[in-house]
Amino acid sequence: MKDLVANFYELWGGAYLGNFSDQMYSNDLYFPVALYSIVVALVLTIAYYYIIDRPGTAKLSIWALNLLVGAILSAIIAFVSANNDLTEIFASIGEQVPASYSSDMMMFAVVNAMWTILLMVLLSFVLKWKSPNSSYVPF
């Protein structure tokens, strides 16, 4: 499971970020981020199709805006979670998080946002059918 989640974030080597990725993998930091992002994607998709759902929101633009919100939230979660956890880990050995990790954390946040968008699209196909007003969104 740990390897699978890591492969998703490192894109099977395509987004391997050296020390940063090693730290994330060895301290098992990918999993909580994945979990939070799944919850965010699920909550936002359900909210779109069943809670805020009304004829006025059944538009491709509103649906896309919902994806954007999901992407931004999951990017923030990824960045903040990685930053907090790594700061704690490095502090425990009396060191500071290397400056180069900032750009790595940004990259990690972008990858997480991308997976969240993909997940929200997949969840949309599963959840849209019973929506009272948005069963034809995105199509």
Binding site: A58, S131, P132, N133, S134, Y136
Partner: protein, 465 residues
């Protein structure tokens, strides 16, 4: 499958048939499965008659695309309108002559000419029949006496069957209607043995509405129509009806109003296009009352009244039975019309439109174009009645921030958790109803069914109707 043959005589007859078309489109209850409108007017270019023919043809075209069975909940356009001939009119022969040519005045001997000059003025004799009888029933009674031998009348007799009913609309204060009604009644009640089904015609259930003066005309020295004669003509005709008509009809309806508006004085032709009037709507209700009447064994004479005699009537000014007949179906059709006019083309991406497969080309198909035009005429009808005297203005037609506030005297209910309002609420109902629709039906059937069910829900949700 009982039919109701409705003879609309003259301009008033045409305008009442127009009101009847809108009531039937809205789904006001009519036990006859089919209505056969027959217009009788020698004035071929009469604006009112031509407008009514247009409305009837559009209704018929819309209805032909819809199917109804035990499963169908839709009542919009449920009653069939079947024409006796394509233009819904009985052709009046020789109506393009002058009256004196029609009666062969030149060939009469001296004694008969003297008799004719007692009965008809010089103006009468020189009158052109093409624009009707211009308020002269003495001319109308001569000219219209020939329609029992016309092919259209023979076709009517041939198509008449057991269980069918006949209704005659006429005004008592004009020319065509006042002359045509007693003649038509006589021709049916003493149907010639040469006609098919003549015995059925003789005993047919017949209802009739005779409309008493409900409008005036402005003074015009060049016109033969004079408002001051309306009352005296009405009195004379009523005296005749008391003995010559009332006993021959199963249900006789008399309608009138003391509050009248003077219209522009047009003797006929294209220019004769009077605004719609509440009396015409009430007359159309008389037709439906007759169609729905179960006991026709005893002859009845009926009048119509309102609860409050206000200058401009709303639903709350009507008596409870009339109100119950009208408020729900008319309001449903009113919202159907509003949505189509203001929203549908912008909502083709909505859930219900996708589910019903209503795409832009549908809006250009003959069916939708007819609905759209019919609805425009429905809107004109409401507007005209609203500004007429006596007015009937049950809706605030000028629009407003909340469309549900537009039924005068009805406060819309608003739920605490209601998250949609105005047209969006209707779209939400449409989306919900479209899910329940039978997908095997045609697009036209599904379209009408969904809008009917949605407006039904709307009435319950907003007005507890």
């Amino acid at each position: 499958m009982s039919k109701l043959y409705v003879f609309g005589i003259g301009g008033t007859g045409a305008r009442v048939l127009k009101s009847l078309s809108f009531l039937l489109a809205a789904g006001v209850k009519c036990k006859s499965s089919s209505v056969v409108p027959i217009l009788i007017d020698p004035d071929a270019a009469n604006g009112d008659v031509n407008k009514t023919v247009d409305i009837l043809q559009r209704y018929q075209s819309i209805r032909s695309k819809l199917s109804f069975d035990a499963e169908t909940s839709n009542q919009f356009f449920k009653t069939e309108i079947s024409p006796l001939n394509p233009n819904f009119r009985i052709n009046i022969q020789d109506s393009k002559k002058k009256f004196k040519e029609f009666i062969d005045y030149q060939d009469l001997d001296k004694k008969n000419k003297a008799l004719i000059s007692l009965l008809f003025s010089k103006k009468n004799l020189n009158a052109d029949l093409e624009v009707g009888f211009k308020g002269n029933p003495n001319m109308g009674s001569v000219v219209l006496n020939q329609f029992n031998t016309s092919k259209d009348f023979e076709d009517f007799a041939s198509s008449f069957s057991q269980g069918d009913r006949i209704f005659i609309i006429s005004s008592i204060f004009g020319g065509t209607g006042a002359a045509g009604f007693p003649l038509l009644l006589k021709n049916i009640r003493s149907a010639s043995p040469s006609l098919n089904n003549h015995s059925l015609l003789k005993s047919a259930p017949i209802g009739a509405v005779s409309v008493l003066p409900y409008f005036g005309v402005k003074k015009d020295n060049d016109s033969d129509i004079e408002k001051s004669t309306f009352i005296s003509k009405t009195k004379a005709a009523l005296r005749y009806y008391e003995y010559g008509v009332n006993d021959s009809v199963n249900s006789m309806y008399y309608l009138g109003d003391k509050l009248v508006k003077d219209y522009d004085n047009h003797e006929g032709s294209v220019a004769q296009q009077n605004d719609a009037h509440f009396i015409e709507l009430a007359s159309a209700l008389a037709i439906l009352d007759f169609a729905n009447e179960t006991n026709l064994a005893t002859n009845k004479v009926k009048e119509f009244g309102v609860a409050n005699e206000s200058q401009t009537l709303t639903f709350n000014d009507l008596e409870s039975v009339t109100k119950a007949d009208l408020v729900k179906p008319l309001s449903k059709y009113y919202f159907f019309n509003l949505y189509l006019k203001n929203q549908l083309s912008n909502n083709l991406e909505a859930d219900f439109a996708k589910r019903l497969k209503i795409k832009e080309p549908f809006l250009y198909e003959e069916f939708y174009q007819n609905v759209e035009r019919f609805n425009d005429l429905f809107w004109d009808w409401l507007n005209e009645m609203a500004v007429n005297q006596r007015g009937f203005s049950p809706y605030s037609l000028s629009g407003g921030s909340d469309i549900f506030n537009s039924i005068k005297g009805y406060k819309p209910h608003r739920g605490f958790f209601e998250k949609t309002k105005n047209y969006e609420r209707i779209t939400a109902f449409l989306n919900k109803k479209a899910r329940e629709i039978n997908t095997s039906e045609s697009t036209e059937d599904r379209f009408m069914e969904v809008f009917y069910d949605t407006t039904e829900n709307l009435m319950a949700d907003k007005y507890k109707l």
